[in-house]
Each structure stands twice: as structure tokens, then as C-alpha cells.
Amino acid sequence: MSDLPQSHLPQEPEYWEELAAQIRADAAGPLADYAAVDHGWYGMLAQRAPWLVAASVAAMLLLWLALPERGPSVAFRWIESSLTPSELAGTLVSGAAPPTVEILMVQFPPSEEERR
């Protein structure tokens, strides 16, 4: 086998050291980026964030659907019980005396819970 041609690749160890150093230097940026990524439990948690968000939304929807039906909200009751514009105008214009605070104040009807 001594008659075989020699390798065409450089044989000097310095050549390979230099080439390895160049490749190492070239990889420094990407490797730093990889190192910056969290790989602990919080990193794994971050990777699963979209699934966790979707699961949370689904859980909230299920909870909302499972809640017992409630009466109208305070705002809705205010609209229901307040004076209409024409009633308010009549009170202000044609009333014998100025309207009292009690008249102007909205009288909330008792809610379901209050009735109980």
C-alpha cells in the first residue's frame, strides 16, 4: 500500500487547528442564541403556552356554562326602573312643585336574592 498516492488534504496539525478555530468562531453566535433559550421547567412551560392558554379558555367557558342562571344585572334593572324621558319631562315641566330627590332617584325593585 506504500505505492498509493498520498492524501490531498493538508497534513499539518496547525492547519486543522486553524480550521477548527474558524468553525468554532463562526458557531459562536448561534450557540449563544441556543444557550439563551430557557431549557428548565419554565422553558418547557413556555413551549406549551399556546396549549395552556387554549385549555384555560375552555375551562372558563365550561365554568361559565355550568354557573346557575342569575337575574338581570344592576345596570339592566336601572334601565327597567328609571323614568322614561317623557315622564321625566312631565315631572319637571308640569309638576306643581319641583321634583324631589326621591322622585329623581331610581327606585330599584328588589332582586331575586333580596326577595328571598
Binding site: D3, P5, W16, A20, I23, R24, A27, L31, A32, Y34
Partner: protein, 184 residues
């Protein structure tokens, strides 16, 4: 050239994916010479092979996040080297030494009886072989890689390498000396 011999390529690649520079360095040193030998088969010039290897390592480190470390690192990396080499030689407009792989074989130039056989004669005889046979002879006989390593580098089976080697040795024997071959 082989740092961290107790760690597999895949373990080193997994560590490099987490930003371990020492692991990547060990991996690069392990694959530097094989990658150069492979790239040389395409370019036949050390300077061009060097560019290809640097580009391949550059692409590999950037694609490391996508590398599935359950699969062999060598196959993944050598595929990158071969692709970079093919792209480089197609850009240069030069004919790939290894492509197409089914080039019609030429008869190696036979020596006249009594001529002393020197390395240059063998070099010429190797040059006359089909590209894949040339690559197998150079990687296994000249560079000293095993047929398993050459198979990984060239992306073929070990059996294919053995077949090409067998044919190449036969043709080289005939080219060197029809009576008594130089190569075993």
C-alpha cells in the same frame, strides 16, 4: 481530532442544541477531516473543499435546532455537506466529480511492461475510474476511512461501497500490472 470520545455524536449534538460550545467544538473536530475528505471528492481543490466545509458547518449549527437527535448525526451532517458541495460546484459551472454517479467507466491507462509503478501512475489510474469508484478508493484506501464511514459520508449502503471498492481494485490491478496487482 476526537475530543470527548466517551460521548456519542448525538449526545454532543443534543448538548450543542442547548448552546454547549465545548460539545459543538468536539463535534466539529470529530467531523472536520471526514467533511474535508468528502468535500474534496467534489471539488478536487483544498481551498474549495474548505469553503464548502465551513459553509456546511455554518448551515449545520444554524439548523441544529431542527435536528432530531434520535437519528444519526452523521447522516444528517453529511447530507448537508453533500448538498452544499453540489450547490457550490453547480454555481461554479464545474462538473461534479461525484455527479452523475452513473458515469460510463473508462479503461484506466495500462502501463507498459517493465515500467516502475510510482504513486503518480496510481493517481492517474484512479482518475480514470468511475467517480463513485474514485471516491471509494480515495476515502477508504488513501484517506483511511472504513467502508462504514465512507458509506455514511457518501450516503449509500456499506454494500455499495464494498462493491465499488471491489470493482475499483480489480480495475486498478489490471491497470498497474495484469499479472500481479499492486493493490491487495
Amino acid at each position: 481530532m476526537n475530543d470527548a470520545p466517551d460521548r456519542t455524536d448525538e449526545e454532543l449534538a443534543r448538548a450543542a442544541k442547548r448552546g454547549d460550545a465545548a460539545a459543538y467544538d468536539a463535534l466539529a473536530r470529530r467531523y472536520l477531516r471526514p467533511a474535508m475528505a468528502l468535500a474534496w471528492q467534489y471539488t478536487r481543490r483544498v481551498e474549495d473543499a474548505e469553503d464548502i466545509v465551513q459553509d456546511a458547518f455554518h448551515r449545520a449549527v444554524r439548523a441544529l435546532a431542527d435536528y432530531d437527535d434520535r437519528r444519526p448525526f452523521s447522516a444528517w451532517f453529511y447530507t448537508i455537506v453533500r448538498n452544499v458541495a453540489r450547490t457550490a460546484i453547480s454555481k461554479d459551472g464545474r462538473r461534479a466529480a461525484l455527479a452523475p454517479l452513473t458515469v460510463v467507466e473508462e479503461e484506466p491507462p495500462a502501463l507498459a511492461a517493465g515500467d516502475p509503478i510510482v504513486a503518480a501512475d496510481i493517481e492517474r489510474a484512479i482518475e480514470a475510474l468511475a467517480p463513485m469508484q474514485q471516491a471509494c478508493v480515495r476515502l477508504c484506501e488513501v484517506e483511511g476511512f472504513t467502508s462504514v464511514e465512507a458509506a455514511r459520508m457518501l450516503g449509500v449502503s456499506e454494500g455499495t461501497i464494498r462493491t465499488h471498492l471491489h470493482r475499483a481494485r480489480h480495475r486498478l490491478r489490471i491497470a498497474m500490472d495484469p499479472e500481479q496487482g499492486v493493490l491487495p
